[in-house]
């Protein structure tokens, strides 16, 4: 499968009162045509900054530095803001956690859906409306024709997220980046929306980058997974591989933290990861996970740790799982 999106050595830095915050620290990833890549990590690890950097939507003060950023053969890093806005919402669309950040409360659903198409394609208003109705029905909204005249605030949260998905699909994109699209929704509605996203992704053969903090969502949705920690990708692999044989101590620890009904013993403590995420302000040294890792050695705190390659399954650790030893003194 060929790549639709290629990101090499992406950095995002944000000036803050105490210095420079290194939110994304040199990450590489590739998204293949038609696949679902999940980027997973805990809050503050840099997931949203990564997606905004790819879309060219970073906050004004943020600095993006990237060795290569290619979408569908186009070098995005050299495009002007104007050229970028021709691609956004067109061949590459985004879905946010909070639908109201993308929906304008002052316009009807129909107007906003139609505008998304007429902005990028030479079609009549009538044709745009037809596509809007077609897609609203696709995302499971009944009596779609009537919904066109409604305003965003007249819809429930779940319906709004469905409208957002229809909006993203208007120009038949090759790639959708969805940042926590179901985090604000109730669990039954989350399952419905994810079910819908997966089936549409297959039907329209789009690539999907799904960003989430929830490893349960990842296991059920992704073809491949990239695990982020403190601004870096610490492990990447196919979903089956990564869940069956997590290679990075962080991934391994994270999987032990999640209670699974029917599997987790109720009379035993859950696994947990002691300590806190390091501050990303100022220059970073050594492995980002060193202060929480149960296998940390002196060597881990020096220099940088590279992503070791292993047949499509890579992880950022100085040691193979077999070579790891418990740390002598825990701090």
């Amino acid at each position: 499968m060929s790549a639709i999106l290629e990101v090499r050595d992406l950095h995002v830095r944000l000036p803050v009162a105490a210095g420079e915050l290194h939110a994304v620290r040199g990450i590489d990833f590739t998204v293949r045509r038609g696949e679902t890549l999940c980027i997973v990590g805990e809050s503050g690890c840099g997931k949203s900054m990564t997606s905004l950097a790819v879309m060219g939507l970073l906050p004004r003060r943020a600095k993006r530095q990237v060795a290569s950023l290619r979408f569908d053969g186009i070098d995005l890093s050299s495009l002007s803001e104007r050229q970028m806005s021709d691609i956004r919402g067109n061949r590459m669309a985004m879905i946010f956690q909070e639908p109201m950040t993308s929906l304008n409360p002052a316009y009807t659903i129909g107007n906003q859906l139609a505008e998304a198409l007429t902005r990028h394609r030479p079609v009549s208003g009538r044709e745009a409306e037809q596509r809007a109705v077609f897609l609203l029905e696709k995302v499971g909204i009944t009596s779609a024709g009537d919904r066109l005249r409604q305003y965003p605030h007249q819809l429930s949260g779940g319906l709004r997220q469905r409208v957002m998905i229809a909006l993203a699909l208007m120009c038949d994109p090759a790639l959708i980046i969805a940042d926590e699209p179901t985090t604000a929704l109730d669990v039954t509605i989350q399952a419905q929306i994810l079910h819908l996203l997966v089936s549409l992704q297959r039907e329209f053969n789009m690539a999907l980058v799904l960003i989430t903090h929830d490893l349960g969502v990842v296991a059920r949705v992704a073809n491949r997974v990239a695990v982020m920690y403190a601004g870096e990708i610490v492990e990447v692999g196919t979903t089956a591989e990564l869940f069956a044989r997590p290679m990075h101590p962080y991934t391994e620890g994270l999987l032990r933290c999640i209670p699974i009904p029917g599997r987790t013993r109720r009379d035993e403590p859950l696994g947990s990861i002691a300590g806190l995420v390091p501050s990303l302000i100022g220059q970073q040294h050594g492995c980002g996970f060193a202060n929480r890792c149960e296998y940390v050695q002196d060597a881990c705190r020096e220099g940088s740790v590279l992503l070791g390659m292993e047949a499509g399954h890579a992880y950022r650790c100085l040691f193979t799982p077999e070579a790891r030893r418990p740390a002598e003194v825990r701090s």
């Binding site: 469905r162 296991a219 403590p269």
Partner: protein
């Protein structure tokens, strides 16, 4: 079966809300006739989706919200006849949001000791000692004694909230989404702490969550709430393995465990979303229920006792 500590009998809470400036007020039945029993030493899990009335029920149990109907009993006595102070000595709470539930201008020592000062419990000379013991117990370093909430992480703040609840030596702790705003690695630390404290101190918990996997790990019984009513209740094993109510089944199917290969199940719930301000007639779940029948649109189902001591409220079982 151990004695009941807290009991609600057909308890109700109706708010009067206005949807627009010029629209008339309408009743919102946030809690619409709930009868539940919390027995000594157990963990009762309360699960349901946003707005179904979980926090309103919790606030009534804590004496923070007056019921508009029904009765709440603490150790067999009507709570209406007990004074607030004696309720707070026995029932404490840990809220969802460790960011807003702690006063940002107060130090950790003053936050944790506040209940002792308010209720004038014990000897002031001993308060520091007690606070330090609580910090040890919830796994916080003693150096946070003089810190402020904004200097602590989310998980540490939730430990402060637990220390503040425990210092009163309560019998019951009501945990309202204690881990919902935390990352999973921190959630695991807090769930372990709640589990250890219960064993050590013999506490009784009402654990509120929308996450059935969290409830399954800690609770011995589960009550499922939907639009102001308990629609099913039973032992954790029954609810998790053989749920009866279509809503419980949908909630269970929606738990996305980290097990690859299972995919995202289709729940067949449709896209309508009943508003608590205009609840549908009959069974309030009928617009989303894949098993709905004609009778469900006309008459509300009545609760029916189940073999394991639980109950279900659905026309399929009447």
């Amino acid at each position: 079966m151990s004695a009941s500590v807290l009991e609600t009998r057909d308890v109700r809470c109706t708010f009067s809300v206005r949807q627009g400036l010029f629209k008339p007020k309408r009743p919102l039945h946030a809690v619409n006739g709930v009868s539940l029993t919390l027995r000594k030493g157990e963990v009762l899990g309360l699960v349901g989706e946003s707005g179904c009335g979980k926090s309103t029920l919790a606030r009534m149990l804590l004496g923070l919200q007056a019921p508009t109907g029904g009765e709440i009993l603490f150790e067999g006595q009507s709570i209406g006849r007990l004074d607030r102070a004696s309720i707070t000595r026995k029932i404490q709470t840990v809220f969802q949001d460790p960011y807003s539930s702690l006063n940002p201008r107060k130090s950790i020592s003053s936050i944790v000791s506040l209940p002792l000062r308010v209720h004038k419990i014990g000897n002031p000379a001993d308060w520091q000692n007690q606070v330090e013991r609580m910090l040890d117990m919830v796994g916080l370093p003693r150096r946070v004694y003089h810190s402020y909430p904004n200097q602590l992480s989310g998980g540490q703040r939730q430990r402060v909230a637990i220390a503040r609840a425990l210092i009163m030596r309560p019998e019951v702790i009501i945990c309202d989404e204690p881990t919902s705003s935390l990352d999973v690695s921190v959630q695991a630390q807090i769930l372990n702490l709640l589990r250890e404290l219960r064993q050590e101190l013999g506490l009784t918990y009402l654990l509120i969550s929308h996450n059935l996997a969290v409830i399954d790990y800690l609770a011995s019984r589960i009550a499922v709430m939907h639009l102001g009513r308990i629609v099913e209740e039973g032992t954790t094993d029954t609810i998790m393995r053989q749920p009866s109510h279509p809503y419980t089944k949908a909630l269970l199917a929606s738990v996305l465990t980290p097990e690859p290969g299972l995919g995202v199940p289709a729940t067949d719930l449709g896209t309508s979303f009943p508003s608590p301000l205009a609840p549908p007639p009959g069974c309030t779940f009928h617009p989303r229920c894949p098993a709905a029948m004609q009778v469900c649109k006309e008459a509300a189902p009545k609760p029916r006792a189940q073999a394991d001591g639980g109950m279900v409220e659905c026309h399929l079982y009447t």
